[in-house]
């Protein structure tokens, strides 16, 4: 459901592509009860899809969040599963899925455990579809 097959491209064979609208709909299911925004981004902080009431801050959070993720991942490459950034007025939780990062952030009233559970659910759900994508 998340991907379409394009069998016309002879160079790549059956090319798997992403349906951004479907991905956004999946992310939207996590944006409730204080969650401001959920997004999927590449390791450099470029956003692939975002959903939520506060997407205005998403570019900054994606850029800085991915940078902080990289710093912590150097400690044990490939072993970092989640990162919780707790600030006075909000929390950010990040997780990895395939070669991408999932990020969910909310206000200070959201419990960290809830954000982590949502990220864990997203990463589990998106792992198989995103694994099928062609990465160049």
């Amino acid at each position: 459901e998340m991907c379409i097959r394009d069998s016309i491209n002879a160079e790549y064979g059956d090319q798997i592509m992403l349906k951004p609208r479907v991905l956004t709909q999946v992310l939207k299911q996590t944006t409730s009860h204080g969650v401001k925004c959920s997004l999927v981004m590449d390791p450099d902080g470029s956003i692939l899809a975002a959903a939520g009431e506060d997407t205005s801050n998403s570019k900054i959070i994606a850029a800085i969040g991915s940078n902080i993720w990289k710093s912590y991942e150097l400690h044990k490459p490939g072993s970092l599963n989640f990162l919780l950034i707790d600030c006075l007025q909000g929390k950010v939780v990040m997780g990895k899925v395939s070669k991408l990062l999932v990020c969910v952030y909310g206000d200070d009233k959201v419990e960290a455990g809830m954000l982590k559970a949502k990220v864990a659910a997203l990463t589990e759900y998106l792992e198989e579809p995103l694994k099928q994508m062609v990465w160049k």
Partner: protein, 129 residues
Amino acid sequence: QEQKAELQVFLNRFLTRVSGLQAVYLSDRDGTTITFASKNDSEQENLSFVYAVAAEQASTLRLGKNHSITSFYNDQIIVHLNLLPLVVTFVGDQNLNVGLLSSFYADLESALKSLRDSVSKLENESGDQ
């Protein structure tokens, strides 16, 4: 030396109270360890030097000042607590009770206030020179 010994006793208490906790480090913003308490008495990598930079970056997320960063690895959990110019690092296994740890933050902040003020003062004085 006396203060260092008192600090170590204080940090050691966390090791007995929090399940999954293996070590507690107190360092400055450059990652230099001031003192630590560890279940196996050896000092291991704690990433406190990474945290000081990460905390400053995290404080620009428009979510207010950064309070802590917790990193969950396959076999380890590391919690960094912002008491800049001091950094407190908790290193535990994958069963570390992060929630219980967070309940001690206020006590930790209060206990380290005088040391924190002293380090700040030293930094300001060396900055003036």
